[in-house]
């Protein structure tokens, strides 16, 4: 039987940092990445020399971009590896960093997500398709929207309310790509994309960086890291889609495993950062996680259950819709947000009493990741 992160020694997030997510600019990826790493080192109160190895989540920058960036932190010489797993590249890098620290191969690991928008090349599979040139991500999620609506009933206004909530959260996050609260009229009045989807219900793909430092108890003691900064990584789960499953099934499977491994019930999740690249994903994944029953998301949304201060704060960072989705940084930034929330250090977007956080991403493929973080 496959093992769990919890079988190994405890691992903690001890430092977090960002370069703000933003539209494509002249800023080099090196500058983006170094800004996030230096912020994370300062947050943990450690020097670069204390980092044993680095995991770099990136999907769009091309081959071997890590050393030309990290060399500017001073002598390197330590292992680094690049991790690509589509939207979940940062989540995959985080999992690997946690596993190596938990296994005792390193005391402290850097997990960095960094990206800039670029055209994606995917080698042909040789398997023909029917209408693949007509299907882009928003088309896929617009079809899923229609399926949700025909099964449970939800109006275009209901669905747009997800974006209103997440833009409101993003307006309180200095790292977010979109930092402007939006009214329902603004969300519905934006550019029409497909079905009832409008541009403000789709995530922006920009540039940015997010970094977290993970450490063992030995690393925390040896480097004198303030234990109040440490948030325990209680579980890590990863799955892939099968011929019979879907993004929602992948989510149910991977979150089910992560919660079970962490011995936390779905009702115990205080803060949930999820893959809301498009509005319809939030109801689907909140229901798949078991945080509310199938078809019951929208009535609860309208009661404020998923607001900061509600039953479970869903995407207090702003989520992919407002925080943004620069690909490599996205999954790492979710972990950073949870760490701030569980430390009680999230400022104007703090969810009161946050003790258990859940991070979730789905990457093209589809691959699914979930991590549970717990305040010790």
């Amino acid at each position: 039987m496959a093992g769990q992160l919890g079988d190994l020694q405890p691992v903690y997030v001890v430092g977090v940092g960002w370069h703000r997510y933003q539209p494509l600019s002249e800023t080099s990826y090196v500058e983006l990445g170094l800004t996030a790493v230096r912020a994370a080192l300062a947050d943990a109160g450690i020097e670069w020399a204390g980092v044993d190895e680095s995991f770099i989540g990136t999907g769009l920058l091309g081959m071997a971009v890590g050393r030309p960036m990290l060399r500017h932190l001073g002598a390197l010489g330590r292992p680094l590896v690049h991790v690509e797993n589509a939207s979940a590249s940062g989540s995959a890098a985080f999992r690997l960093g946690c596993v190596n620290v938990a296994a005792g191969l390193s005391d402290v690991a850097l997990v960095l997500g960094v990206d800039k928008p670029a055209k994606v090349y995917r080698a042909p599979t040789g398997v023909p398709g029917l209408a693949e040139d007509a299907i882009v991500p928003f088309t896929h999620f617009s079809l899923l929207t229609e399926e949700y609506v025909s099964r449970y009933g939800a109006s275009a206004e209901d669905i747009a309310m997800v974006a209103v909530k997440n833009h409101g959260n993003g307006a309180r996050n200095p790292h977010a790509h979109r930092q402007r609260a939006r009214t329902l009229e603004e969300v519905l009045g934006g550019k029409q994309v497909a079905g009832s989807l409008t541009s403000l219900q789709c995530c922006p793909v920009g540039e940015g960086a997010a970094a977290v430092l993970v450490a063992s108890e030995l690393g925390i003691r040896r480097l004198g890291i303030d234990p109040a900064k440490a948030v325990r990584v209680a579980s890590s789960a990863a799955v892939t889609e099968t011929v019979a499953s879907s993004d929602q099934q992948v989510t149910a499977d991977v979150i089910g495993r992560a919660l079970s491994d962490a011995q936390v019930p779905a009702s115990g999740v205080d803060v949930f950062e999820l893959h809301d690249a498009f509005t319809i994903e939030e109801p689907q994944y909140v229901e798949a996680a078991g945080i509310c029953p199938p078809g019951k998301y929208f009535p609860l949304l309208k009661q404020g259950a998923f607001d900061i201060g509600g039953q479970c704060a869903v995407s207090p960072s702003g989520g992919l819709i407002a925080m943004g989705h620069p690909i490599g940084p996205t999954g790492v930034g979710q972990i950073g947000e949870l760490a701030l929330q569980l430390r009680g250090a999230a400022g104007p977007r703090q969810h009161p009493g946050a003790r258990v956080g859940l991070a979730h991403l789905v990457g093209l493929g589809a691959v699914g990741y979930a991590h549970v973080l717990v305040r010790p």
Binding site: A134, S150, K191, A194
Partner: protein, 131 residues
């Protein structure tokens, strides 16, 4: 690229799918790399003609599309073929399609510079179809 269309029979065009000789899984499009359910490959994966008929699971109108070869608006369908596989396809222009509705494959002329190509679309099943 191999054609995914089978026009060998009367009626709506069929699709070139496959059947796994090991587990019976029916799939589209045909390939020999390996069965997505059980992993058997090569000659164990046999060509199977799939009827170009199915039931709509979801439909959405695309209003914005970056690829200039396809001009919005157009309607994309997710449908379950009568032979089993779920596929995504484009609806014929002007076709009235709804979730749960029956559709069949049609070939429609598509201008391509000075030439004209035939494109695969799905449209509501004609009365008497599927018999």
């Amino acid at each position: 690229m191999t054609s995914v269309l089978d026009r060998s029979a009367e009626g709506p065009p069929g699709l070139v799918g496959g059947t796994c000789g090991g587990c019976g899984f029916v799939f589209f499009p045909y390939q020999r790399y390996g069965c997505e359910r059980c992993g058997r490959y090569g000659d164990e994966l046999r060509v199977r003609r799939l009827a170009g008929r199915g039931t709509v699971l979801a439909a959405t109108v695309v209003k914005l599309h970056a690829d200039p070869r396809r001009t919005a608006p157009f309607t994309v369908l997710r449908l379950r073929l009568d032979d089993g596989p779920v596929v995504r396809a484009v609806a014929a222009d002007g076709a009235q399609v709804a979730v749960g509705g029956r559709v069949e494959a049609v070939l429609v002329p598509i201008p391509e510079g000075a030439d004209e190509l035939l494109g695969l679309r799905f449209a509501p099943e004609l009365p008497g179809g599927g018999v």
